[in-house]
Amino acid sequence: MKKGFKIAIPKGYLFDKCLDILSRAGFEVKSLMENNRKLSVYSGEDAIQYIISRPMDVPVYVEHGACDIGFSGKDMLMEKESKVYELLDLKNGECRIVLATLKDNLEKVKEKYRHFGSIRVATSYPNITKKYFDSKGMQVEIIKLYGSVELAPALGIADEILDITASGKTLEENDLMEIEEVIVSTTRLIANITSYRVKYDLISKFMNKIKNVIK
C-alpha cells in the first residue's frame, strides 16, 4: 500500500480557510498557494496529495474513495447524504441556509398556500428543501437552480427560496427577507469509510494536528 493519503480541498470561499488551518497545523501549503490552474498538487514533505475540486464534489470524491479525507461544508454533506465519516467541525466557513421570500410578501405566500395547497420553492439544495418541507407536512414544488437563486422570487418563478447566506447582504440587495433559519453550516473534516479503518494511523495523526488549531 502506498504511504500517504489524498485530501480533497474545496475551491471557492472555503479554499483559503482550509489552507489557513492546514498551515497553522504545520503542513506545507506553499505549493497550494501558487496561483495556477493545477487541480492536483503533491506535497512531498507531508506525503499528501491535494485534490482541488468543486465544493459539491468533495463529499463524492471522499465517498467513492478518490480521496481519503476532505474538507466539506455541512450543507453539502446534508444535501448529498454522503456515506462518509464526519470527524471534525473546523468551526469556520460558517454560513446559514435560510428560507426567504420577497419583503412584504409573506402573507401573500401564505394565502397562496391556503388557496392552492402548494407553493414553489427555488433552491440549489433540493434534497434539504424536500426534507425541510416534509418535516412540516407541507407540499411544495421544488425548482432546482444552479445559481442566483435570490432572483427567483422577483422573476416570478418561485414564491420562496431556500438558499445559503453568510452575511445576509445578498438577500437584502434582492429585496428578500428571511422567514426561518433551516441549518447552520460549518466546514467539516470528512473521511472515506474504508480509508478511516485501513489508514487510521495516518488519518488520526492528521486529525489531531488539525484539532489542535481549531479555535
Partner: protein, 426 residues
C-alpha cells in the same frame, strides 16, 4: 467507446439491476469455488430458500426503516410479500420452521442474491450477491464466533486478498457505555443514529452537553484501535458490567486468533453498528484498501430465531461477491485450455464431434464453429481461445494456430491428441 443505439432499439432494465456475462461469471465462480470449498471442509451444508417471503417475516430483522429497504409485492390472496433483503432472516425462518432442538448445533452456508430498495437517483445496486454462513445453536458462543472468524480469515487469505482488515465491535460495549452515561431511551436512539450516520461531530456536540469528561472518553473508545491493551487501559475507570464483559469477550477472541497468528488483520472498532436490528453481541466488518464499501460483515444474533419459534443463539457472516471480485486482483483463473475448432461441416461432423469429445475428456474446453466467419482469429481472441484448430480434409492432419505466441503448426491428429493429453497447453 459505446455505440449509440437508435431510440427504437433501447431496451431497459429496472434501475439498480444488471446482466452478467460469461467472462465475469467465470471469475465469480472461481471465487465462489474457493469460498465453497472452505465452507464445505468446515462442515457447512448449503441451503437455498425462496427469493420471496412474507413481508411480516422479512421485516422482523430489517431494522427501523424497513419499509424503505424492502421491495414489495402482493400475493394473489392479497398478502404482502417481499424480496429477501439478506439470507440471515430466511435461514433463521427455516431453522425455526424445520429444525428440532436435538439436531443442534447446525451449520448452514448459502450463495444467493438478496434485494434492497434504493433511491432511483442514487443509482446504487438493488441486488446483492452474497456468500455466507450461519452457525446456529451452539452453546459455546465464544467458540462459535471464533470459528466463523477463522473461516472468514481463511477465505480472505485463500483469495489472496491483501491489505484487508476485520473490524470487531460489540453491541454490549456500546450499551454499557450508554449505561455509564446514564442515558434514557430517547438519547440512546439518537446516539445510535448518529453512530450509524458516522457523524462524530454531532455526537461530540450532543455528548459534551451531557458530560464533557465522559464524552471525550466515549469518542476515544469508538475509534478504530489495533491494540486491545490500549482499550483496556482506557476503560479501566469504567466499572460498567456490560463494558467489562464485552471487552473481555473481544479480548478472548483476540487471544485465540493471536495463537493462530491471525491478529494482524484485526482492528477493534466499537463504532460498528449494523443497520440490521437483529445483532446482539459480537459484530464485525471486512474492509479492503482498494474498495470503498464494506466487503463483508457479520455477527451474533441470539434473539432472531426465537421470533420464528426456536429460541437458540446463532452467529454468521456474509461476503458481497461483487465487492470481493473487485478486491481480488490476482485471481488465479485456472487456465483451462480453450480450443476453437473451425470448419465443422455436416460431412465431417461425426468425426469432429468425436475428436472434440476426446479433448473434452482431458478437461479441455472445445467450442465448435459451424459458421463461415471472415475473421476467425479475432473471433477466437474475443472468446479467449488459446488455439484455433482446423482439421484437414483427410482427417489425418491438423493445422494449429497458437494465439498466445502467434505460431502456426501442422501436426498429425495422433500427435496433436497426445500433446494435448500431456501438456494441456502448447
Amino acid at each position: 467507446m459505446f455505440e449509440n443505439k437508435k431510440d427504437s432499439q433501447i431496451v431497459r432494465l429496472p434501475f439498480g439491476l444488471r446482466d452478467i456475462f460469461p467472462f465475469e461469471i467465470e471469475e465469480r465462480n472461481r471465487i465462489k469455488e474457493i469460498i465453497a470449498r472452505k465452507f464445505k471442509l468446515w462442515g457447512y451444508g448449503e441451503v437455498y430458500t425462496p427469493i420471496i417471503e412474507f413481508t411480516k417475516n422479512i421485516s422482523i430483522g430489517a431494522g427501523k426503516n424497513w419499509k424503505d429497504k424492502l421491495i414489495n409485492f402482493f400475493d394473489v390472496d392479497g398478502s404482502p410479500v417481499s424480496l429477501r433483503t439478506d439470507m440471515t432472516i430466511p435461514v433463521a425462518r427455516l431453522t425455526g420452521m424445520r429444525i428440532k432442538r436435538n439436531q443442534l448445533p447446525v451449520r448452514f452456508c448459502y450463495f444467493a442474491d438478496s434485494f434492497r430498495q434504493s433511491d432511483i437517483q442514487k443509482g446504487v445496486s438493488r441486488v446483492y450477491n452474497q456468500a455466507g454462513i450461519e452457525f446456529i445453536g451452539s452453546s459455546n458462543a465464544l467458540m462459535s464466533d471464533v470459528e466463523i472468524l477463522v473461516i472468514l480469515i481463511n477465505i480472505l487469505d485463500g483469495l489472496n486478498l491483501r491489505d484487508y482488515k476485520i473490524g470487531l465491535g460489540h453491541i454490549g460495549f456500546i450499551e454499557g457505555l450508554f449505561d455509564w452515561f446514564e442515558l434514557d431511551m430517547k438519547d440512546r436512539e439518537h446516539i445510535r443514529k448518529k453512530i450509524v450516520a458516522k457523524d462524530f461531530v454531532a455526537l461530540e456536540n450532543f455528548l459534551s452537553k451531557k458530560n464533557k469528561v465522559k464524552a471525550k472518553i466515549f469518542l476515544k473508545l469508538i475509534q478504530p484501535e489495533s491494540s486491545i491493551e490500549k482499550i483496556s487501559d482506557m476503560v479501566s475507570g469504567i466499572k460498567e458490567k456490560k463494558v467489562i464483559k464485552s471487552l473481555n469477550y473481544i479480548k478472548e477472541i483476540y487471544g485465540i486468533l493471536k495463537g493462530l497468528d491471525y491478529e494482524g488483520c484485526l482492528v477493534t472498532d466499537f463504532s460498528i453498528i449494523r443497520d440490521f436490528d437483529y445483532y446482539t453481541g459480537l459484530l464485525f466488518e471486512v474492509y479492503q484498501a482498494n474498495i470503498t464499501d464494506i466487503i463483508g460483515s457479520g455477527g451474533r444474533y441470539d434473539g432472531l430465531i426465537k421470533k420464528f419459534g426456536l429460541d437458540v443463539p446463532a452467529t454468521g457472516f456474509a461476503l458481497d461477491i461483487d465487492l470481493v471480485h473487485k478486491a481480488v486482483n490476482e485471481i488465479e483463473l485456472k487456465g483451462k485450455l480453450k480450443i476453437l475448432i473451425i470448419g465443422v461441416k455436416n460431412v465431417n461432423a461425426a468425426e469432429l464431434i468425436g475428436l472434440a469429445g476426446k479433448l473434452r475428456d482431458d478437461g479441455i474446453i472445445v467450442e465448435l464453429s459451424f459458421e463461415d466467419i471472415p475473421d476467425y482469429e479475432n473471433f477466437a481472441r474475443e472468446k479467449n481461445c488459446d488455439l484455433i484448430v482446423e482439421f484437414k480434409q483427410d482427417l489425418k492432419n491438423v493445422k494449429i494456430k497458437d494465439l498466445k505466441n502467434n505460431m502456426t503448426k501442422v501436426k498429425t491428429i495422433t500427435e496433436f491428441l497426445k500433446e494435448m493429453k500431456d501438456e494441456k497447453r502448447i
